[in-house]
Amino acid sequence: MATWIEACGADDVDAEDVIPFEHDGHPYAIYRSPADDYHATDGWCTHEQTLLKDGLVMGHIIECPKHNGRFDYRTGEGKGAPICVNLRTYPVKLEGGTLYIDVD
C-alpha cells in the first residue's frame, strides 16, 4: 500500500536541480527536471556514503559530488563506473503545489 508523505512545495526545487528531504531518518533526493516534472530517489549514492543533494543535475542525470558517478534519476539506472548498483526511485505526486513521495 502506498504511503504518501508530504515532502516539500513544488517551488522549493528549482528547474534542473535537486533538494534533500528526510523522513524517518532516511535521506531522499527530490528532483525537478528541465521539463518541470518531479522525481525522487534515495538520498545516498550507491557507490559510497555521499549525499546526492550536493550533486549536479544535467537534464535527467544526477552526478554525484564525490566521484562524479551518474544516475538517471527517473529510473535510478547507474550510468557507468564507479556506479555498479542502481539507485532506488520513489513515486512522486503533485497536489495543490505540494509534492508527496510514496516511501513504501
Binding site: 559510497e48 556514503q49 550536493d54 549536479l56 552526478e63 566521484h67 562524479n68
Partner: protein, 365 residues
C-alpha cells in the same frame, strides 16, 4: 621510534585505516552557497574543445616537423616540446576527462580520456578506479594507490620517473599481465570484477599497437616511429612529475582535510595549459565536480578558508624538497599546517597569506 608505514593496499596500514574510520571518511569542505556552487559546476564544451584542438595541433606540428628534420639536431627541441605534450599533458587530460568534467558532451570526455590513457600508459579502467580511491582516501596510508611521495620517500625512484624509468616498465609489465587475462592482486582489490574484461581487452589492443611500432622501427632501421609513439612517455614525462609532486609532497598523511594534505600552486601559463589548471589542487579535491576552467573562480570563492597557494613551482619545491630529504631519516617529518590560524582568516571573509605561512611549519618530532 620511527613508525614504519606500509603503503601496499593489502597490508596492515590499510586494515588499520578501515578499523579506525580513516577510510571512506567524511572530509572537510568549505561551505559554498548552493546557487554559487551550481554555477561553478556547470559543464561547457567550449574551453576543452579549444584546448584539445590546440593540444592536438601542437602535437601534430611539433611531431611532424620533428620527424621531417630527423635525425638532425633541429629535431631535439621539436621532440622536446612534442614529448611534454605527449608524456605530460596526457596526464592532466587523463585526469580531467576521467572525472568527466572537462567536456559537457560525454563522448568527448570518453574519446580524449582513452587517447590520454594510451599516451600516459594507464589502463583506462584500472586508473579510473584507482583515482576513485585516491579521492575517497587521499593520502591515507595503505588505501590511496596514487601516493608518489611516501615516508620515507623513494628518492631514486621518483628521480628516475622524471624519465619514466620505473613507470614505463611497470606499465608494460601490467599490460602483459592484463593481456593474459589477469589483474595484479592490488588492482583486483579496487577494480570490481565486472570491469576486468575491459582491462584485458585494452591491454591486448595496446600491445598490438606497440608491437607494430617496434616492428616499423626494425623494418625501417630507425627509432623515429618510437619517438612518436611510446618513447615520449619517457623523454616528455618530466613536466607531469614536476607538477604532480607539488600536489601532496611533504604534507600530512592520514588526515581528512585536504587543506592539510594538498597544495595549491600559482603557475606560469604554459604549465597551467599542460596541467589543465590542476595547480588548484586543494580546490579540486574538495569539489571534484568543478571543471578545470572554473577552478580559478572556485579558488577566488573559497581562498579565505584555504592555505595560501605556493607562489610558484619553485617555491613549492623549496617547501617540500628539504622535508623529503629529512624524511629519509625522520619519516615523521612533515609540513604541518595549523588550521586555526587561517580558519580565522576565512571567518573574516578574506585570505590572509601571512597568517598561513606563519602557520606552516615543519614538524620533525
Amino acid at each position: 621510534m620511527a613508525v614504519v608505514r606500509d603503503y601496499s593496499l593489502l597490508g596492515p596500514d590499510g586494515k588499520r585505516a578501515i578499523e579506525s574510520g580513516l577510510a571512506a571518511a567524511q572530509w572537510y569542505r568549505t561551505s559554498v552557497p548552493r546557487k554559487r556552487m551550481k554555477e561553478l559546476m556547470q559543464r561547457r564544451d567550449g574551453p576543452a574543445i579549444r584546448d584539445t584542438a590546440i593540444w592536438l595541433a601542437l602535437l601534430a606540428a611539433f611531431g611532424g616537423t620533428g620527424a621531417y628534420v630527423w635525425p638532425s639536431w633541429w629535431a631535439l627541441p621539436l621532440f622536446g616540446a612534442y614529448g611534454v605534450l605527449y608524456g605530460s599533458a596526457s596526464d592532466s587530460r587523463w585526469h580531467e576527462c576521467g572525472h568527466g568534467t572537462a567536456f559537457r558532451t560525454r563522448w568527448m570526455n570518453t574519446a580524449v580520456y582513452n587517447l590520454a590513457c594510451f599516451m600516459i600508459m594507464r589502463d583506462p579502467t584500472v586508473w579510473r578506479w584507482s583515482h576513485t580511491r585516491h579521492h575517497t582516501d587521499t593520502i591515507i596510508v595503505g588505501r590511496d594507490p596514487e601516493i608518489i611521495s611516501m615516508r620515507p620517500p623513494k628518492l631514486f625512484h621518483i628521480a628516475a620517473n622524471f624519465l619514466g624509468l620505473f613507470d614505463v616498465p611497470t606499465a608494460f609489465r601490467h599490460m602483459a599481465v592484463h593481456a593474459v587475462g589477469r589483474l595484479t592482486a592490488e588492482e583486483a582489490s579496487f577494480v570490481p570484477e565486472t570491469e576486468w574484461f575491459r582491462v584485458y581487452r585494452t591491454a591486448r589492443a595496446w600491445l598490438v599497437i606497440y608491437t607494430a611500432t617496434i616492428a616499423i622501427c626494425v623494418a625501417t632501421a630507425s627509432v623515429l616511429p618510437a619517438m612518436l609513439i611510446g618513447l615520449p612517455r619517457m623523454y616528455g614525462a618530466w613536466h607531469h612529475l614536476v607538477t604532480g609532486l607539488t600536489q601532496h609532497s611533504g604534507l600530512a598523511d592520514d588526515v581528512v582535510d585536504h587543506r592539510l594534505n594538498t597544495r595549491t600552486v600559482s603557475m606560469n601559463p604554459i604549465s597551467r595549459f599542460v596541467y589543465w589548471n590542476m595547480n588548484y589542487h586543494v580546490e579540486h579535491h574538495m569539489f571534484p565536480m568543478v571543471p578545470f576552467h572554473a577552478l580559478p573562480r572556485l579558488h577566488d570563492e573559497i581562498k579565505g578558508d584555504l592555505p595560501a597557494p605556493s607562489p610558484s613551482i619553485l617555491a613549492a619545491f623549496g617547501e617540500f624538497v628539504p622535508v623529503m630529504l629529512r624524511q629519509r631519516t625522520h619519516p615523521e617529518a612533515f609540513i604541518e599546517r595549523d588550521l586555526s590560524s587561517w580558519a580565522a582568516a576565512g571567518d573574516t571573509g578574506g585570505a590572509n597569506p601571512s597568517a598561513v605561512s606563519a602557520a606552516t611549519t615543519m614538524d620533525v618530532s
